[in-house]
């Protein structure tokens, strides 16, 4: 009983940590973008204010049941994938579900959110949402392939499909997979550029072109759920890459340093890039990232 309570408390703590870190990173990104554009920029806690304001707005939109479930699906996807990620290497406070094969499960559950959002956006009947969803799914076809290839390379190389297993191998040997299989790391990082959907890959929610795409009919509390699940999901992606390639983190400070450095890759790449068109985005992912993914698998099999 006590351990169950502790587990629930730990899950809530994990969620709050992910929410806070994700939101702060989003705010810092806005600040950095503003500084690069020679602006003063909003304060780093601006995202928290926005989220609270969105939460306090009324919601009088009704487009049917799927419209309500869409944001819930994204939230479920984010939270479930968060529960499978070991936040720290020796985690007392941040328990996670793990079993043999959870990495494969994670690949599926990370796609579940966008699919749920596609269903929700489809019911709003807004043409911008439909275009955004089409673009999002096409882009997902692009970046999922190098991403899955990078993970398969790791699974083949170390003969385990468990995230904690991969993490333990790194901790015991002291070698990060980032250097053990650099091709898999490159493929994963390039794929994560697309996962974050910052420019040049912001073709899904292009605000001036598509009126924010799938979110265009969602205001107020819907947008709050989407925003917070996006923040949690950003934390999930960053921590997963840290766990798989950078040897995890033994305490929170190291975790924050590592994830922030990782986060700067899509942010800085995004600041200096204009937006791609859909086919450019897909061909980008089927270029070098796919090549690195293939090399990673060949490297994992033969070396």
């Amino acid at each position: 009983m006590e351990s169950l309570l502790m587990n629930i408390l730990g899950a809530v703590t994990t969620f709050l940590l992910a929410f806070a870190v994700g939101m702060t990173y989003g705010g810092l990104r806005r600040k950095i973008v503003a500084r690069v554009q020679n602006r003063y920029g909003p304060p780093f806690y601006q995202n928290f204010i926005d989220a609270f304001k969105l939460y306090s707005k009324s919601t009088a939109i009704h487009h049917g049941a799927m419209h309500f479930l869409g944001p819930a699906f994204i939230m479920v996807s984010s939270v479930v994938s968060l529960m499978f990620i070991p936040v720290l290497t020796n985690n007392q406070w941040f328990p996670n579900l793990n079993f043999q094969g959870d990495l494969i499960f994670l690949i599926y559950i990370m796609v579940f959110g966008p699919l749920g959002m596609a269903l929700g956006a489809g019911q709003t009947g807004n043409p911008n949402s439909a275009i955004g969803v089409t673009r999002g799914l096409s882009q997902m076809v692009g970046f999922e392939i190098p991403w899955v290839m990078a993970l398969i390379a790791l699974m083949v190389q170390y003969k385990t499909t468990s995230i904690t297993g991969l993490l333990d191998i790194q901790v015991q040997s002291g070698h990060w997979f980032m250097f053990e299989n650099p091709f898999a790391f490159s493929a994963a990082i390039l794929a994560s550029l697309g996962m974050f959907r910052y420019s040049p890959f912001d073709i899904v929610g292009a605000p001036t072109e598509l009126a924010s795409g799938p979110m265009s009919e969602n205001g107020g509390k819907f947008l709050f759920v989407m925003m917070s699940s996006g923040s949690v999901f950003a934390f999930v992606k960053l921590t997963l890459i840290v766990d798989l390639f950078m040897g995890g983190a033994s305490n929170l400070i190291i975790l924050v340093i590592k994830t922030f450095l990782l986060y700067m890759i899509p942010v800085t790449y995004g600041i200096v890039s204009p937006r791609y068109r859909t086919e450019q985005s897909i061909t980008y992912f089927w270029g070098w990232p796919l090549f690195f993914g293939l090399i990673a698998i060949i490297y994992a099999v033969f070396f």
């Binding site: 503003a34 020679n38 920029g41 601006q46 204010i49 926005d50 304001k53 009088a60 009126a211 205001g219």
Partner: protein, 181 residues
């Protein structure tokens, strides 16, 4: 326009503090005023440091910024956009044209007084208002929100008959559905 009691609960004070520092603006750029909005948002004047940010659709927006004159044709669309926005929502009338018609006061197809058709919280005078004036207008709106007296949306709900009558007088082919919150 002003609250009778002018009293706020503690919850409202917290909510209003968040609202006033996070204004998502839907700029309805029909007139020449649309050219001042990019200047306000970009690096020289940078409205984002005050929490003012562009919103993509009416569903996400808090502030409807009406930049310039409104013809009868665009007024119909503006009313529709306004009614799609979610509470709490505010309207800023931007430029002389929204106040008394400006230079289009004797035009055959432009309305002269915006506040007969929509509840305006803040007017920004000028033809054109410079970005400093626009930021001043946003500051005034933030002040009103902080005091809890920027309740144009509530006014619209309470006096819906008055607004509907005025709107129907101008818009001849009225084919709206009833407003439901």
């Amino acid at each position: 326009m002003y609250n009778d009691k002018n009293k706020q609960k503690i919850v409202d004070i917290i909510k209003n503090a968040a609202r006033k520092h996070s204004l998502w603006v839907l700029a309805y750029g029909t007139g020449c005023g649309a050219i001042e909005v990019p200047a306000t948002m970009t690096s020289r004047y940078d409205a984002e440091r005050l929490g003012v940010r562009g919103a993509a659709t009416p569903r996400q927006a808090d502030v409807l910024l009406i930049t310039g004159y409104l013809t009868v044709k665009t007024l119909k669309r503006v009313i529709r956009v306004y009614e799609q926005m979610q509470d709490p929502k505010y309207v800023i009338g931007f430029g002389s044209c929204t106040i008394n018609g400006g230079m289009y006061f004797d035009s055959y197809n432009t309305i002269n007084q915006l506040d007969l058709y929509l509840p305006v919280d803040v007017y920004i005078s000028g033809c054109m208002p410079r970005p400093e004036a626009v930021l001043e207008g946003f500051g005034k709106l933030q002040e009103l929100i902080g005091k809890g007296i920027a309740n144009g949306a509530q006014q619209y709900k309470e006096n819906l008959d008055f607004y509907r009558e005025n709107q129907k007088k101008v818009i001849k082919n009225w084919d709206f559905q009833d407003y439901n919150w």
